[in-house]
């Protein structure tokens, strides 16, 4: 426990913990200074200078985010000179920034806009030259607009420190400085994993997802097509935040109702195919364990992780489960089994997925996942995009009458619900693998060791004569650390779950921007979203994937058994090594 020291802020005394920055101390005693480059989960660059304060004895203003408090420090936060200096700094940042707020994608969510209002910028004193960079539209997931970039560097630090991908960095100098990829290659040709955490931390619209809303609205009015949508577990745990609800509001049935009002003919639940994933992946795992297959087996649901693995750990590709992700499994079934069942040509079915994820847009484009050359998921939109579409269509999510998912691909177990949070896939797999292997009921199905937000979690599960050693990582930087351990000690684990985003899908790059008081990557926020899924799981009578009656039915009617030839044809795949720009291997 750090000791307490006395500081004076605006002539009032406070006791604060030593060994923290002025900004942190002020945050803890009820101030909230404007800030742009600062993010509590990232390192401090002190780049934007907005958070300056006056400190007695210092000749210049100091950036509160990089200066530590000390005993007896006298701080002023709101003098006239300081307010003017802060405004000048902000006006200089705005100087080369576009003025198209009302047509900007980030209108209303923009931190720069909010801070400008808060600081009291009324006129643009410095009408400077505007940046003229081309938009980078190369990626199906992420759009870069360097003209809107204020060079705060949060994205660079998130990509480096949270994800360990290092796809982007500061490039060039002076007025030409920008955030770009190695060799300024289009982002789709870079090492970018499409996770979207850069979007989540960007204070402006310099980084955003590629919007597919216009295309979807157009398709929704196509009378010829049967329009089917699926939603991922984590979407229901966060979409309420787009409508001003507190983090942690469960919106499962409201979202189902809203999707029907948007014009979808069938509203399915990705949780159904999450159960299916567990059946396939659990069986695959047991097969690998009992027949000396490649271990540790690593989960393959998270598309950012897949691309990361292809690039940085190609030697571990044989360790990846061959299962497609739940989204792609669902879409595969929609375009094969379901199309046949309802007597439709797959071309006349529109398969849409609502995901907390930007990388799913990339996944939908993957050649490996196509069946007979057909795309399985036609359109992927993020939770944010769905929030906008619901509002744009004049639907009130808050007062809507709750509706159920359509039956057939709409029912799921509690195990599938927790897929959206770190440790959840592992937990769901253990629930099924244990019972299938031993043929007896697992009494305590909640695996506390692999819940929570520690970067790397380990557990040993006793399964009859086998001691199952499992590990879970979320955030690719953590994943990298875990994989290094696993590589150096191949016997250490048998089963590894990796989710690309911090906290798992609940913290996905396509989730609503954090409401005021929270930030993206904030554990408190992630916990609240996760609690929605854990509560939904607990409220269900069926909490094990193999007990889902619709899962049993699809095996009886169509697939046969897990890992059957039919399953392999449509539910499994293989990935190949990738060498994008910025990876150099001879």
């Amino acid at each position: 426990m750090s000791k307490k020291i006395k500081i004076t802020v605006n002539n009032q005394e406070y006791q604060v913990l030593a060994d923290q920055t002025i900004l942190q101390a002020l945050d803890n005693i009820g101030f909230r200074l404007p800030r742009l480059c600062y993010h509590p989960k990232l390192s401090n660059d002190g780049a934007c200078r907005i958070c300056i304060v006056e400190v007695e004895g210092f000749p210049n203003y100091v950036t509160s985010c990089t200066t530590k408090v000390s005993e007896g420090m006298e701080i002023k936060t709101n003098t006239s000179e300081l307010r003017r200096a802060r405004r000048d700094i902000l006006e200089l940042i705005l100087d080369s920034h576009p003025t198209d707020c009302h047509t900007c994608e980030n209108d209303g969510n923009c931190e720069l806009q909010r801070i400008s209002h808060g600081i009291g910028v009324k006129t643009r004193h410095f009408e400077g030259e505007r940046k003229k960079f081309d938009l980078d539209l190369s990626s199906p997931s992420i759009v870069r607009d360097p003209n809107k970039c204020i060079l705060c560097g949060r994205c660079v630090r998130a990509c480096r420190e949270i994800q360990g991908v290092n796809a982007i960095d500061f490039v060039g100098r002076g007025f030409g400085a920008t955030v770009s990829t190695a060799y300024n290659s289009p982002i789709n040709e870079s090492v970018c994993a499409n996770c979207g955490q850069c979007i989540a931390v960007c204070p402006t619209a310099a980084l955003s997802e590629k919007y597919h809303t216009a295309e979807l609205f157009r398709e929704l009015s196509n009378e010829k097509k049967l329009k089917i949508v699926q939603i991922a577990p984590a979407v229901r745990a966060a979409i309420g935040e787009s409508f001003g609800l507190k983090a942690g509001s469960a919106m499962e049935k409201q979202t189902a109702a809203a999707l029907r009002k948007l014009g979808f003919d069938r509203v399915f639940d990705t949780q159904f195919s999450a159960d299916l994933t567990i059946m396939e992946e659990g069986s695959e795992f047991l097969e690998r364990v009992t027949s000396n297959g490649v271990l540790p087996m690593i989960t393959s649901c998270s598309p950012g992780w897949i691309k990361y693995c292809e690039q940085f750990f190609p030697e571990l590709l044989p360790n990846l489960s061959t299962c497609k992700s739940p989204m792609s499994m669902m879409s595969s079934l929609i375009k094969t089994y379901y199309a046949k069942k309802v007597g439709k040509d797959p071309k006349d079915i529109l398969s849409v997925a609502v995901m907390p994820c930007t990388a799913k847009k990339y996944e939908a484009e993957r050649e490996e996942l196509k069946i007979d050359g057909h795309k399985l998921t036609d359109i992927v939109i993020t939770t944010r995009e769905l929030g906008w579409m619901i509002r744009s269509a004049g639907i009130d999510l808050l007062t809507i009458k709750e509706e159920e998912f359509d039956n057939f691909f709409g029912s799921s177990s509690g195990a599938a619900t927790i897929f959206g949070v770190t440790g959840g896939v592992m937990e769901a797999a253990l629930r099924t693998a244990y019972e299938q292997y031993l043929g007896e009921t697992l009494i305590n199905i909640e695996f506390e060791e692999i819940r929570g937000f520690k970067g790397i979690k380990e557990a040993t599960v006793k399964m009859g004569d086998i001691d199952l050693r499992v590990a879970v990582a979320h955030g690719l930087a953590n994943a990298k650390a875990l994989l290094e351990i696993a590589k150096n000690d191949p016997q250490r684990y048998q089963f590894i779950e990796i989710m690309t985003c911090p906290g798992g899908c609940v913290g996905g790059g396509g989730q609503p921007y954090a409401e005021p008081g929270y930030l993206s990557l904030d554990e408190e926020l992630l916990k609240k979203r996760a609690s929605v899924l854990y509560n939904l799981d607990r409220a269900k009578t069926i909490r094990r994937s193999h007990e889902n009656p619709e899962i049993q039915r699809i095996y009886k009617e169509f697939l046969g058994t897990p890992l059957s030839q039919k399953s392999h044809e449509i539910l499994h795949t293989k990935y190949k090594k990738k060498l994008p720009q910025g990876i150099y291997r001879k």
Partner: protein, 171 residues
């Protein structure tokens, strides 16, 4: 046996330098020195050099790319055998440095920071070479040419071209 090309010889030299001089994982501190060496060996910063450096030091390529694009000294395109730096610092500017530059552009038929097709000349501008008493000046590689006139410039270029031709016919 295939005769090694200039590029592979340069690469071997660069990799030898990396291996002998810096342990793997040497990190950021060595980056500038290595990039200087790369430019010395290859004449410019090649993507392969960035790749090797990244692999050797464990620094992401995007970061190295950022460093290379930050410093004016580093160039990303091959430069000519003779790099001409025309001084446009205050003294040279007053004494007609701009005219010298225009004359060179005319003679070489290239613009600023460009290289002639025969890879003989690269034209650059510098802001004070530190010998204002000799203004206007230019440097060709490491040699200073003083008190220039447009006539002198033409002669210098012709002389280099002539000697270059002589070398070519000799070999």
């Amino acid at each position: 046996m295939i005769k090694p090309t200039t590029e592979t010889k340069q690469m071997e030299e660069f990799i030898d330098y990396l291996n002998n001089r810096y342990d793997a994982g040497y990190h950021n501190a060595a980056l500038m020195a290595i990039l200087h060496k790369a430019q010395e060996i290859f004449g410019y910063i090649t993507r392969e050099a960035i790749g090797e450096t990244s692999k050797h030091l464990g620094i992401p390529t995007a970061h190295i790319w950022g460093v290379v694009t930050f410093y004016h000294y580093f160039t990303l395109t091959p430069r000519g055998k003779y790099v001409i730096s025309v001084c446009l610092g205050t003294a040279c500017y007053v004494k007609g440095g701009k005219r010298i530059l225009s004359k060179l552009m005319e003679e070489l038929k290239i613009g600023l920071n460009e290289t002639t097709d025969d890879k003989l000349f690269t034209l650059e501008a510098k802001y004070c070479l530190g010998c204002c008493g000799l203004a206007p000046v230019m440097m060709i590689n490491d040699e200073v040419y003083e008190k220039l006139t447009t006539k002198k410039v033409s002669e210098i270029i012709s002389e280099i071209r002539r000697s270059q031709k002589a070398v070519q016919t000799a070999t």
